[in-house]
């Protein structure tokens, strides 16, 4: 965190000053480790084993927070008798459908019911939409003593019982004493009087089981009662300054603003169905139609009426997985015409760079918007495969448009940070030359397109024609007014154009306009709330008047959990939000994240609907049943509980199960994306992990041009332990060549005690640390780490696995710029050897462009 988020880390250091214990779990000894109280080196790709060990420690040592767990989580819920655990099936959960190559989650359900998932966007892959959604979990299906062998708590307990300190050592290379020290520190600092927080950066997500990593941390935090309480939680530290914002108002293909799912072509055929499939009968998602209609009114204005389903049919309907790697694979097969790349540098920062560039080769046109021509804009000119002579520029037909863009100091707008805090930034100077903001680009592009189709009477052009696009423009360069956009996102009433104070005021009758329901109220009273900058000294420690946090300026989500079931604070020390019996309402330091007048003793009667189903002890109001899900009865695509799987390319056999890898992972079986053996590949015997350094910014587009930053880290280098250096004859300051079957790169060597080998299963395992900032353009150049990585991904969110894979490393400059994407696998060989999957998983049906994800009809274009 100190390494990649030094500014956010100031608060960690502040906590340390006040006595907090900082535990850092990382394969490397980083800047964070340097100031941490405990540093735990862990083998890359084994985090679930470590976290699972914590779960087991907490349960078996009775360190869990009973009152919290029983009341606020689904620990007491009973699960279907059909459920079988990975412990029973050697690494598979019940319900694996060998024919479809994916799980059928029906055996994971609560006994007798089906529950809708919150933010139900991801069931698009699981076949038919659920007909009977959102039934209330009835009382007789709980066991509040938590002793029923099929209650969630017992299932979790059994599931993790094998994750002992010894197994943690075997899987992670963490000595038992060190593990126990961490577990003890964590437990000692959790409970009524104390809380602990987890912070992770995107590195945790970049695994083929990435989502389950975070699920495991969530289980730990639920058991310890560390969610919804001050000082607790799980902080996702995002990769850029406003990536949280770009998830809230998404640049993701499968979501609409505010986590509304994108309509699916195959079954969300009209608004009624869309609402029916996504509205929850209970919990906060029962308000779904209000958010949807207000969004459609924001986009299509007067054209959206109740008669035409508020123009629902104007929305794009997705026909399959269009995530990043899926799209690039299609691009490489010449199935995509054009591509917009804004503020991203996939030719460096995305996995298997050469395959990324192969995708770019086969486009008709490409638009790149960045500060300077990045590798993504210059891929056709001097990329490694072009220098090597494998690809000729004259064979590339892609027309590249490069647009210089404005920096954040040259435009108005917001940043949304990891705490969901929106902070306004003001333009300080005009952008130079032709540099323009993204807002300017998109708005003027839209304006011109609208002009082109102004008089069209074709149905297909109506969405463009009817789009509301009337922002005020300012100044000579005609920059659209960003504040006006913010006001539209925040929302207003149509009749009297009053700015809405919050999402509770949204209506489904077309009388309110709101561009993103969770941001509703950020322009309350016509005041730019994110621009508020009241100093800390002039307000409470929660600082509600600094910026604005979604939803409803709430600084801590699910904060009803900061009080006990009776509504009293768990302790004076951790007092945050509580029930005021006199006023008969929830009150506290923060805006209560609960129905403000719902007393703690309220229990819904039979037949309650919508938010009335939430009882007084249901803090997790976005969940249909108001409880935190320790166990996910609807399942993620790879199971209801996290389980340790090895990375796609590992050096070790899975120490726990016969199933080596995540059975539901996404794989691309293509000649330009070859894989190593599942484990113990003699040609690629070392673990590799990629990461960022403080001195540079991601793929380098913002930092490799600046001499002040370049001098701090002037060259591509790799980090190895003295032991690995000796083994491979690597010299500090000298050169090394690192290769996978997909590519080879060269780098300077930094031999350092900050890297260390792991001794596991009787073997010494070495790790090569590879920063990924460099490539061939800019002041500071070097080979790109992602020339080595593969297309392989987590099934739930399609995020790649770049934090753990296998490599070879040799001394000297030997790289000949060979790339599998340009000339096929670097080593021609029979890839036989250990299986990644058990027999039923092995025959996974293949999809288009080499994708093997076991997805059904949704992966086919329809």
């Amino acid at each position: 965190m100190a390494e990649c988020h030094p500014v956010g880390f100031r608060w960690v250091m502040e906590a340390k000053r006040r006595g907090a214990t900082i535990i850092h779990v990382d394969p490397r000894f980083t800047r964070t480790s340097a100031v941490a109280d405990i540093h735990v080196p862990i083998r890359p790709g084994s985090d679930i084993a470590f976290l699972g060990g914590l779960v087991n420690y907490i349960i078996s040592n009775e360190r869990w927070f009973r009152d919290y767990v029983v009341n606020y989580t689904n620990a007491a819920a009973l699960v279907s008798e059909d459920y079988r655990d990975t412990e029973d099936l050697d690494g598979l959960f019940s319900g694996w459908d060998a024919e479809k190559g994916q799980y059928d989650p029906s055996s994971w359900q609560y006994r007798g019911v089906e529950v809708t998932p919150a933010a139900g966007h991801r069931e698009m892959f699981s076949g038919e939409p659920r007909a009977e959604r959102g039934a209330i979990v009835s009382a007789e299906q709980h066991d509040f003593t938590l002793t029923d062998p099929l209650c969630v708590f017992q299932i979790v307990k059994r599931h993790f019982s094998r994750y002992t300190p010894e197994v943690v050592q075997e899987a992670c290379g963490v000595p038992p004493e060190l593990f126990e020290k961490v577990a003890r520190a964590l437990c000692d600092n959790s409970g009524r009087d104390r809380t602990s927080a987890f912070c992770y950066a995107v590195g945790w997500t970049q695994h083929s089981v990435g989502v389950q990593y975070i699920r495991t941390a969530a289980i730990v935090q639920m058991l310890l009662g560390n969610i919804g309480r001050p000082g607790g939680g799980i902080m996702a530290l995002r990769g850029h300054s406003s990536i949280q914002g770009s998830t809230d108002i998404p640049t993701l293909y499968n979501m609409l603003p505010g986590y509304l799912p994108m309509p699916k072509a195959s079954y969300d055929t009209d608004l009624k169905k869309y609402l029916e499939y996504n509205e929850s009968a209970s919990g906060w998602w029962s308000e779904f139609p209000k958010y949807t209609v207000s969004l459609l009114k924001a986009w299509y204005g007067p054209a959206a009426t109740s008669q035409n389903d508020w123009c629902y049919h104007y929305l794009p309907h997705i026909s399959g997985d269009h995530s990043h790697m899926v799209t690039v694979a299609a691009m490489a097969d010449a199935q995509v015409q054009g591509y917009f790349v804004m503020g991203e540098n996939p030719a460096v920062g995305s996995m298997n760079c050469a395959l990324q560039r192969k995708g770019l080769h086969n486009l008709k046109w490409l638009v790149v918007r960045d500060f300077a021509p990045t590798e993504t804009a210059e891929f056709w000119r001097n990329a490694p495969e072009i220098v090597a002579g494998d690809v000729k520029p004259e064979q590339i037909g892609t027309e590249v448009f490069f647009f210089p863009c404005a920096a954040h100091t040259e435009k108005d707008g917001t940043f949304t940070n990891t705490q969901r805090l929106l902070q306004w930034h003001h333009k300080a100077v005009e952008p130079p030359g032709d540099c323009r903001s993204e807002l300017h680009f998109i708005w003027h592009l839209g304006r011109r397109l609208k002009e082109l189709y102004r008089s069209s009477s074709e149905q297909k052009d109506f969405p463009l024609r009817d789009l509301t696009w009337d922002y005020r423009s300012i100044g000579e360069i005609e920059e659209p007014d960003a504040e006006e956009v913010l006001a539209e996102i925040s929302g207003y009433t149509l009749g009297d154009h009053k700015y809405l104070p919050g999402y509770k005021e949204l209506k489904d009758d077309g009388s309110t306009v709101c561009g993103c329901w969770i941001y509703c109220g950020c322009y309350k009273d016509g005041v730019n709330q994110p621009a508020r900058r009241k100093p800390a000294s002039e307000q409470t420690w929660v600082a509600p008047e600094w910026g604005w946090a979604w939803p409803a300026n709430r600084r801590l989500l699910y904060n009803r959990a900061s009080a006990d079931p009776d509504g009293k604070p768990w302790s004076e020390r951790k007092k945050y939000v509580w029930w005021d019996p006199g006023e008969r309402k929830w009150t506290g330091y923060d805006n209560p994240d609960f129905i403000v007048d719902r007393p703690p003793d309220y229990r819904p009667g039979p037949g309650a609907k919508g938010i009335d189903t939430l009882s007084g002890i249901d803090p997790f109001i976005m969940q249909a049943e108001g409880k935190a899900w320790m166990y996910d009865p609807n399942g993620l695509l790879d199971g209801p509980l996290p389980t340790h799987y090895e990375p796609e390319e590992s050096v070790l056999k899975n120490p726990l199960y016969g199933q080596q890898c995540n059975p539901a992972r996404m794989e691309w079986i293509r000649n330009d994306n070859p894989y190593h053996k599942a484990w113990g590949d003699p040609d690629y015997p070392f673990i590799a992990t990629t990461y960022r350094l403080t001195e540079h910014h991601t793929a380098g587009g913002m930092s490799r041009w600046l001499p002040w930053l370049c001098e701090l880290q002037p060259e591509m280098f790799i980090e190895v332990s003295p032991e690995l250096a000796e083994l491979r004859g690597l010299e500090n300051g000298g050169w090394a060549t690192v290769s996978t079957i997909r590519g080879e790169i060269e780098a300077r060597v930094l031999v350092t005690g900050r890297m260390q080998p792991f001794v596991q299963q009787g073997r010494t395992l070495h790790t090569v640390g590879i920063p990924y900032h460099w490539s061939w353009i800019g002041r500071s150049t070097g080979d790109a780490a992602n020339e080595l990585t593969a297309f392989v991904a987590d099934p739930n969110v399609s995020i790649e696995e770049s934090k753990a894979f296998s490599v070879q490393v040799v001394a000297g400059r030997r790289a000949k710029k060979r790339r599998a994407a340009a000339q096929g696998p670097l080593v021609e060989r029979e890839v036989s050897g250990p299986e990644r999957d058990l027999a039923p998983v092995h025959e996974k049906p293949g999809g288009k462009h080499g994708l093997h994800a076991g997805k059904t009809e949704m992966t086919e274009e329809s």
């Binding site: 030359g433 041009w705 600046l706 002040w708 370049c710 060259e715 500090n732 300051g733 005690g753």
Partner: protein
């Protein structure tokens, strides 16, 4: 297309090849250091975490090396000759039969105090500001005192050269005192720096510079046509200087020996070679002088050897000072030992 044009085209001031910027940081002149090129800071071949960090920081210099170029030690020599000559000229004042020698001395004093500032100015980072040397008088700074001495002595030497034996007492004594200051202040200047080699020798350097000034003066005069009487004066003056110089050098080596790191810095590298050369030239100069023959050639050889020795000595001091600054352990050990008491 010129860079300026390409900037206009891109909108932001970046060219892929140069990454040059306009606006903030525009004046940046970025050196292209080649890692393998060596230089003062070589690429580190050891493993950082296995380095003896208890002792120093990756063997990097703790102090800055002197930035002075050749003209500074050259000046040290010139200043010595000027100072010695000025003193001798004052002593010779009014001695009729030695008038020619006195005039030689006056001339040398004048020459030294004229060329000296030119040499010093040549080393300045901002030559045009050489007059700033006389902007203030800072008693704590030997260089400030030296600058004023040099300027004053220069004026006196000029007067003295013009007036010859006619010059008054002020000029005479002024030249003498100024000459002594010019001859010796450089020793104080070097000795009172942070440089461990110079600092360890701070009580010997002024004596060394002073005696070497006498020797250098004699060395130059010995190379001139002299009559017997003049030769005698020069020889006597020179022998005292050379003996003093030799004694100081011996004392310095003995003093160095108590601090092994300083001794090593003095012994090794360019400085060590120059130091040895200085010793050899000085000793052979003395030996030649002591030969029981009398000839102008002997005298001139001896003078030349003394001169070479004196010049080598000053370059040796600068080079060894640089070497001592490069080696962090010298500074650290000297201070650590001092702390132990």
């Amino acid at each position: 297309m010129s860079l300026a044009q390409s900037r206009l085209h891109v909108g932001r001031e970046m060219s892929p090849g140069l990454a040059l910027q306009i606006g903030e940081g525009a004046a940046q002149q970025v050196k292209h250091a080649e890692p393998d090129a060596g230089g003062i800071v070589p690429l580190w071949r050891q493993v950082p975490s296995q380095h003896r960090t208890d002792h120093n920081y990756y063997d990097l210099a703790l102090l800055k090396e002197p930035v002075w170029i050749w003209s500074v030690p050259a000046y040290f020599y010139m200043g010595g000759v000027a100072g010695g000559s000025a003193m001798l000229a004052a002593a010779l004042h009014g001695k009729k039969r030695l008038r020619r020698l006195a005039n030689w001395c006056r001339f040398l004093a004048f020459l030294g105090t004229t060329i000296g500032p030119v040499l010093l100015t040549y080393d300045l980072g901002k030559m045009s500001r050489f007059l700033n040397m006389l902007r203030v008088l800072r008693p704590s700074s030997p260089m400030s005192i030296g600058s004023w001495s040099l300027a004053g002595t220069g004026m006196m030497a000029a007067l003295s050269l013009l007036q010859g034996d006619r010059s008054g007492a002020v000029t005479r004594y002024g030249t003498a005192v100024g000459g002594l200051l010019v001859a010796g202040y450089t020793g104080v200047l070097l000795g009172n720096t942070a440089n461990p080699l110079w600092r360890e020798r701070r009580l010997l350097l002024p004596a060394l510079f002073m005696s070497s000034a006498a020797a250098s003066t004699a060395g130059v005069l010995q190379m001139m046509p002299l009559d017997e009487r003049e030769e005698k004066v020069v020889q006597r003056f020179g022998m005292v200087g050379k003996a003093g110089e030799a004694a100081c050098m011996v004392a310095m080596q003995r003093n160095d020996a108590t601090v092994p790191e300083v001794a090593a810095a003095a012994r090794e590298g360019k400085g060590g070679v120059l130091w040895t050369a200085a010793k050899a030239a000085l000793v052979s100069g003395i030996l030649v002088e002591l030969l029981p023959v009398r000839s102008p050639l002997k005298r001139k050889v001896s003078g030349a050897l003394t001169t070479i020795g004196a010049i080598c000595l000053r370059f040796a001091l600068l080079e060894s000072g640089k070497a001592a600054a490069r080696e962090p352990q010298t500074t650290i050990n000297v201070q650590r030992r001092r702390m132990k008491g």
